[in-house]
Symmetry: C2
Subunit: 120 residues, 2 copies
Amino acid sequence: MDRTNTPCGLDVALTVIGGKWKPLILYHVQSGPTRFSEIRRRVGGISEKILIQQLRDLVKLKVLLRHDHHCVPPVVDYALTPFGETLVKALAPLCAWGTANRDVVGSMVASASSATERGI
Amino acid sequence: MDRTNTPCGLDVALTVIGGKWKPLILYHVQSGPTRFSEIRRRVGGISEKILIQQLRDLVKLKVLLRHDHHCVPPVVDYALTPFGETLVKALAPLCAWGTANRDVVGSMVASASSATERGI
DNA sequence: GCTAGAACCTACTAAAAGGTAAGTGTGAGA
DNA sequence: TCTCACACTTACCTTTTAGTAGGTTCTAGC
């Protein structure tokens, strides 16, 4: 899915934060370096496989920095890069919008799906 | 995919603008009421089925307003609602971020995929 | 010795999203 | 009459994304 060649920058942004869990990961990592297991606990409901996959994606995109402490048992933490911080800053208004409109959107999603379930 | 019950508002926002084409649709509609065929031409590369699906989603979420002129051959246009405009405003910084970082992200996506293609 | 926890990996499966190709009814222009 | 454009709909297929269930290597604690 190459969405990096359109007039609208949102496509670029969505290649970075698209997916079910990436925004949540970013949200829970912005407070500072966070360990893998800590992210998993905070996010909740995510499988390890998916979490690793998404973290790797974000590292490849240079949004997150992976810091392996090279000890046994393993200790690894993830933190925002400066680039990642610019992204999080750009994300803030959208996050606020979502928070302000959670109930509105939630009820509309619910009514839309119940309507289609009833075949309307 | 219910993402409307998390501490982070981004999930709410992504239920609205998630998907391959929605941001692009929003982008091309923000200038004023736009006809279906005009949106299709502007977006480019989208199939009619998907465009209709996405437009319907956005109408259900009360982000867009569908105006059917009830004439034959059919004339229908889509415009942002006031609610949709608050969303577009919240989206602006992210859009700017994407535009500013298109080349950076694009090259990183490219190098990441070529790396995996080579089995690295 | 046995278990738990750390941070992963691998195969397989399920669900969601997107895409293709066809068809609908109508009227204006060639 | 024939075709085109309009705004869709339907059935079917492919791709992408997410989830499940197992395994690995190592150490500390019981």
